[in-house]
Amino acid sequence: MSVNRDASLQAAGALRRAIESASPEQLNEVYAEDAVIWHNTDLVELNRADIVAAVVGLGAACDISMEVRQLDATDSGFFQTQEWTFRVPSGESLSVPSAFVVTLDEDQRVARLDEYVDSAALAALGDLLAGSSGEVPAGVVR
């Protein structure tokens, strides 16, 4: 399958907006029903319900924003690097760089997302969230 740049940019924008909103409706729209979401830090493959629950939980604990640093179309989807910013109600925030390798399906939904991130950054996020609410949303910080 070959994905054109416009379709890739559109899908990447929809993904960013869905994650930043932490809206289950938007998240369910951008991920394919059988989507697989994988992180290099634990090698676990999450399904759509897992990732939607994780992002919704994270969004309840903090504001999520994503500054896209690089976005390139590939034949199967897109490659994107970004700087996440997580801001808790106290005003404290943490920035975490990561990279996405995304495969889109024929409907331009995310069929697979591999995220590469440094575990030290995730540990810091866990500390930030635990310090803010005493709870860390399951499925996000491993």
Partner: protein, 134 residues
């Protein structure tokens, strides 16, 4: 416009670069870099000086008994000269134990097929913490 296939020459350069890294030869690795390059490993500060690159590579190589890059995929992008690789990197620690970790690299090559950008996205900490992700 869809992404062009990775040119055979660009792919060859990247494979040769990984072979140089696996040989743990800092000078050979540095020879792939353009004069105007940026190297960044994870969240570490970027390096754009070739001597600093050699020193970093030499110190990193000395911290390991072996290194092998297994390329899982090489993805062309729609930006000329920009290539993404997904790998399993097999590290042999000084005590002889081996750990394999996933890695994603992004390269930008100039018209002379020299590397102007070499960025590594991975979690290297298990290599030195003595733990593998479960």
């Amino acid at each position: 416009m869809s992404a062009p296939a990775v040119s055979r020459s660009a792919e060859g350069v990247i494979r040769d670069l990984f072979a140089a890294a696996d040989a743990r030869d800092a000078d050979r690795s540095a020879a792939f870099l353009a004069e105007d390059f940026v190297f960044r490993f994870g969240n570490a500060d970027p390096i754009s000086d070739v001597e600093a690159f050699r020193q970093m590579a030499t110190e990193f190589n000395a911290s390991l008994a072996g290194l092998r890059h297994e390329i899982r995929s090489i993805l062309a992008t729609d930006r000329e000269g920009v290539v993404v690789t997904e790998l399993a990197v097999h590290y042999t620690r000084l005590d002889g134990s081996v750990i394999s970790l996933p890695c994603c690299n992004i390269f930008a090559l100039d018209g002379d097929l020299k590397v102007t950008r070499y960025q590594i996205f991975m979690d290297i900490s298990p290599v030195f913490a003595g733990e593998a992700p479960e």
